[in-house]
Structure formats: structure tokens, C-alpha cells
């Protein structure tokens, strides 16, 4: 179990100050807000680099397309809105101005999935990964905790190209105890096991680790794979896990339609795997106005429910 002491679980607490540091290191970094600096944690960047910070107000479409324009003039642009608005309100702009133009924009989707909590269905993005994953040229990433969030952010300061950078409001726990290495297309095996493989990303990775502990008490050895790069996906790790454990369970803070679970299903089917797949996530409905804990439970995303599902499947 990773030590969470002294390390904030809140995305903006880590992301905001880190962007100030990276802003000094990389003069081409620009931050664009849509009246959500207090959620993105970028007030510090705005104060430190007023000239390299644009607040577009509540105008996500213009924000994303103008970010592309800046990127085409050599900028590395981190642009944000709530996950739902960045990917759906500005869907066409992210597709055409950013991806079709191959613009160096990091589209940051805030308060991702159920972490928008009581903001409810208008703000809880359950299909953002599905949409972003379908855009040609777009990479899709989500960290498992704030250590990995830092790793991804540092990577994105160097990386040149369109990325959907999904950020939950907060994490349930830390998974790492120091900043791990990150690479697009590479997964990380957090725990080895032979009976079942849990593949997760974002806040679900911590839940997967906890579920593995519950399973262990029941004599089931679970492998846990963290998949921070949802696109490109680490197909090799999925195929290997399927062959070695025979049961794959994907866990995600997103709809089971089109997200990590679908991505894994595509890999398994296309490679002729006969492993069984269980997709845990939000079951084809919108978020509701409720706490994160309530919604996780409603969607079967607790360690107990996940462990129960797996136990009955293996019985």
C-alpha cells in the first residue's frame, strides 16, 4: 500500500504548481482556461506568466480551436474545461482544429467521470474517452494517482501532438509512492497474479488494487495492470494477461461503452483470445446528483462488488 501522507489526492494541487515549474522550463507552454482556473489549478501559472495564459471565458469551442491556432505557431497548449464540455461542447473543434490539423494541444478534461459528483449528469462525463479515442491522431491518457499525474504532465511538456488528458477532480488513494515513469502505449503491472487480470486506469486503478487484496483473502491471485495510456493501448500486455490468466476484468470511471473496457475487448477479439472479459464501469446511463462513494457503489465500482463478481465467475 502506497504511502499517501503529505501527497495531495487532488489533481489541481499537483498539476497547478507543476505547470508553473514547467512553464519556466519550457517557454513554449501556454495555458488556456474556460473560466475554470480554480478547478484546473492554473491561477499560479496565470500570475507567473500572464502573457502565456488566456482565459477564454465560457466559450469552449473558441478555446479549443484558438488553442490549435496557437499550437500551429509553435506553442504547446494545455487547454481545459470540465471533461464533458471539453470533449462534447467543443467536440468538432477538438476533432478538426486540433486533431485534423495535428495541433500540439493537450485537451485537459477536468472532474472526469463520477468525480464531478453532485454537479450531476450535466457535468459527469461518462463518454468522453469513447469520443476522444475515436479521433484519428488523438492520444488518450489518464493517471492512476497524483504521482502518475505528475509523470504524465512532465511527459506532455515534451510531447508534440494532440492528447486528451483526462483528470479526475480527486483520487481515492495513491497507487505509487514516487513519480513513476510514463510512456504512451505502455502499461504498468502493479501486481502479479495467475487467476485473473484487473486492468484499470484513473481512480479505478486504486480500486483494482484494493479488490485484489480482497480476492487474495479468498485465495484468488489477481494480476493488476495500470493502463494510463488508453490510446495507444498496450495490446501486448492485454494479450499476454489473457493467455496467462484466462479472465480479464476492466475497471473504469467511465461508461462501459467505448472506454477502456471496449478498447480491451477490441484487442482480445482481434487477437482471437478465448479469455473471458468482464467490463466494470458506468452501465450506459448518465451520472446522477450524488457523492462519489454513492455513485461508485451504484455502478458496482467498489472493491467488494468487484471481488464478488470475480469470485462468482471463477467459482
Amino acid at each position: 500500500m502506497a504511502d499517501t501522507k503529505g501527497r495531495s489526492l487532488v489533481s489541481k494541487d499537483i498539476f497547478g504548481p507543476l505547470m508553473v515549474e514547467l512553464g519556466h522550463q519550457y517557454p513554449n507552454i501556454v495555458v488556456c482556461d474556460t473560466d475554470l482556473m480554480r478547478c484546473f489549478g492554473t491561477k499560479g501559472f496565470m500570475k507567473e506568466f500572464p502573457k502565456r495564459h488566456i482565459n477564454f471565458g465560457i466559450a469552449e469551442q473558441n478555446c479549443m480551436a484558438a488553442s490549435a491556432g496557437m499550437a500551429l505557431c509553435g506553442k504547446n497548449v494545455f487547454s481545459s474545461s470540465f471533461a464533458n464540455f471539453a470533449t462534447k461542447r467543443a467536440c468538432d473543434q477538438v476533432s478538426i482544429s486540433v486533431c485534423y490539423n495535428h495541433a500540439n494541444v493537450k485537451v485537459c478534461g477536468l472532474y472526469a467521470g463520477l468525480t464531478a459528483e453532485k454537479n450531476g449528469g450535466t457535468h459527469i462525463g461518462v463518454e468522453d474517452v469513447a469520443i476522444m479515442r475515436s479521433f484519428p491522431d488523438m492520444a488518450v491518457v489518464e493517471a492512476a494517482d497524483t504521482y502518475e499525474l505528475e509523470a504524465i504532465t512532465r511527459y506532455m511538456a515534451e510531447y508534440d501532438g494532440p492528447v486528451y488528458f483526462r483528470q479526475p477532480k480527486m483520487y481515492l488513494r495513491n497507487v505509487y509512492d514516487s513519480v513513476p515513469s510514463f510512456e504512451l502505449g505502455r502499461s504498468v503491472e502493479l501486481k502479479n497474479g495467475r487467476d485473473v487480470t484487473l486492468i484499470a486506469c484513473g481512480i479505478a486503478t486504486g480500486i483494482a488494487l484494493d479488490a485484489a487484496d480482497v480476492l487474495k483473502e479468498n485465495g484468488i491471485e489477481a494480476r493488476v495492470i495500470n493502463m494510463p495510456s488508453i490510446k495507444p493501448i498496450d495490446a501486448e500486455a492485454i494479450i499476454k494477461a489473457a493467455a496467462q490468466t484466462g479472465l480479464i476484468v476492466t475497471i473504469e470511471n467511465h461508461s462501459t461503452v467505448g472506454g477502456l473496457g471496449s478498447a480491451a475487448a477490441e484487442v482480445l477479439a482481434e487477437n482471437g483470445s478465448d479469455a473471458k472479459l468482464i467490463r466494470m464501469g458506468i452501465k450506459d446511463h448518465f451520472g446522477v446528483t450524488a457523492s462519489l462513494a454513492y455513485q461508485l457503489k451504484q455502478n458496482g465500482l467498489t472493491k467488494e462488488i468487484i471481488a464478488g463478481e470475480i469470485s462468482s465467475c471463477l467459482r
Binding site: 501556454v30 502565456r52 488566456i54 480551436a65 491556432g69 496557437m70 509553435g74 482544429s97 490539423n101
Partner: protein
Amino acid sequence: MNEKLEFGMLRKKAEELRYNLIAMMDYAGSGHPGGSLSSVEILTAIYYGGFLNADANDPQNPARDRLIMSKGHASPTQYVILADKGYYPKETLKVFDVDNSMLPKHCNRKLTPGIDASTGALGQGMSMAVGMAMAGKMDDASYKTYCLLGDGECQSGEIWEAAMSAAKYKLDNLQVIVDNNGLQIDGRSDDIMPLGDQRAKWEAFGWNVETCNGHSLEEISAALERMGKAADKPSVLIADTIKGKGVSFMENDADWHSRKMTKDEGVQALAEITESYKAYGFENIEASIMFLDEKELAQLTGKESV
């Protein structure tokens, strides 16, 4: 290459571009003739009137002026200009809109040298131009960003989001031109979705507003000169134009937004532009053809039966 032609030569150039433009679309059996023809003088003035600072031999130079065709379907006008300027061999115009062409129906920056943004999804070019102007301000760069809009495109909400942001950030390095031809695919803009008082709208959004006859090279140039001097605010030129300008049967007919010419229509269109060219006192416009040989041109002009 900041080439600056005198007005007589500028008119000659505009008509020659118009001739090549029709020939290219006729040859391809494709294109958007109406909105391409309405923007000929605007783009001629920008490219040949000493405004756009860009070099065909160095199309990615970071210091160059940018030109964003937000109305990306009017790409043909820019294509004939870029060919004339030497961004690619003039024969390239033959591949306009062929399968997987480097001159696609809508502008694509990854395929065509001299195209600064991939456009065609209306409204987005305006935002991208705003972003380019913002980047210029961040870098204290002296380049300008020009952006051509259609009036129909101004029905899109994104235009006004972008307009607000350009005013907030005092983008006096941004110059927008509205090709105000009053028509869109389904008919008159005033019938489809009226824009009302365009000048008042842009002024209310904090812009310096100029208006002119969008087919007068003198008026366009004078307006662009004034816009270049406006400080601390972005400028827009509402250029009143005629959709299909220069070809009698296309003028003011919304059908010609994207209609293909029949052989006879192509012959007539080229003949009409030839007549206008002569009326301006120039001779032998056919000599200006950029991309067809005599025989190929003769087929389009109906002077040779095939």
C-alpha cells in the same frame, strides 16, 4: 516576397486568376464557383497588393504573415494564387479535387504548401486565426494574421466567441475580411438566418470596422491600409461582393455555391472572362493560363471539337 502591383496590373492579375480559377474548376468538374469568384479581388489585393508578407520558397517561415481561409470551400481561389506565386508547379492545378489530391476541395495545411490551417468546418478558421494572432502577441512577433470569412459562416456562434476574445486581447495584428456575398447554399442569407446590421454587431464586439466594395481593388487596398493602422483592437472589413462575380449566369445565384459546370457553361464562363479582360484593355488572357497546354485549353474553350 511582398510583391506590390499597381492597380492596373492588380486588375490584370485578378482577371487572370479568375480565368485560371474557372478553368481549374471546369477541368476538375468540381469546386465551389460562387464563393470562390466572390473572393478573387479580396485575395488578389492581399497577395499582390503589398499586404501579405510570405515567401513561396519558405512557406513555414515563423515570421511570415498567416492567411486563414475560414471559408475553406473557397480554396480554389487560393490554389491558383499559390500556383502563380510558385508554391508548387502550376501544372499541379490539374489535380484539384482528384482522389487524395494535394489540392483538396477544402484547405488542408498538411497537403498544400502555403495553406496555414486546415479549414472547411465553418467558424473554426476564425478561432484558429485568433489563436495565431495571440501567439504572435506572446512572442512580440510582427507578423499579421489575415482571415477570410463568409457571411453565412457568421451565423455560427463560434465566430462571435472568437470576436469577443480577439477584442479582449486587443489583437490589432488580426485582420478579418468578410466576403459578404449575401448568399449561402440554401438561398439568401437574409432569408435563411439574417445577420442584421453586421457593422453594428462587430462594433459592439469591440472591433474596428471597415466596409467596401469587395470587387474594387482600390477600395479593398485602402481599407486594408487603414486596418493596418488601427491600434489596440482587431479589424474587420465587410467587403460587399457578388457571389459568382464575373460569370453572368453564376452571379447572385445560390445554386452556384457548389454546382458543376456543363461543357457549354464552362465555354461561356471562360468567354465572358475573356471579354471582361479585353474590356479592361488587356489582350490575350489565354496566355496567362497557368496549367493547361494549348490543346487542353482549347477543349475547355470549345475551340477544338473532341
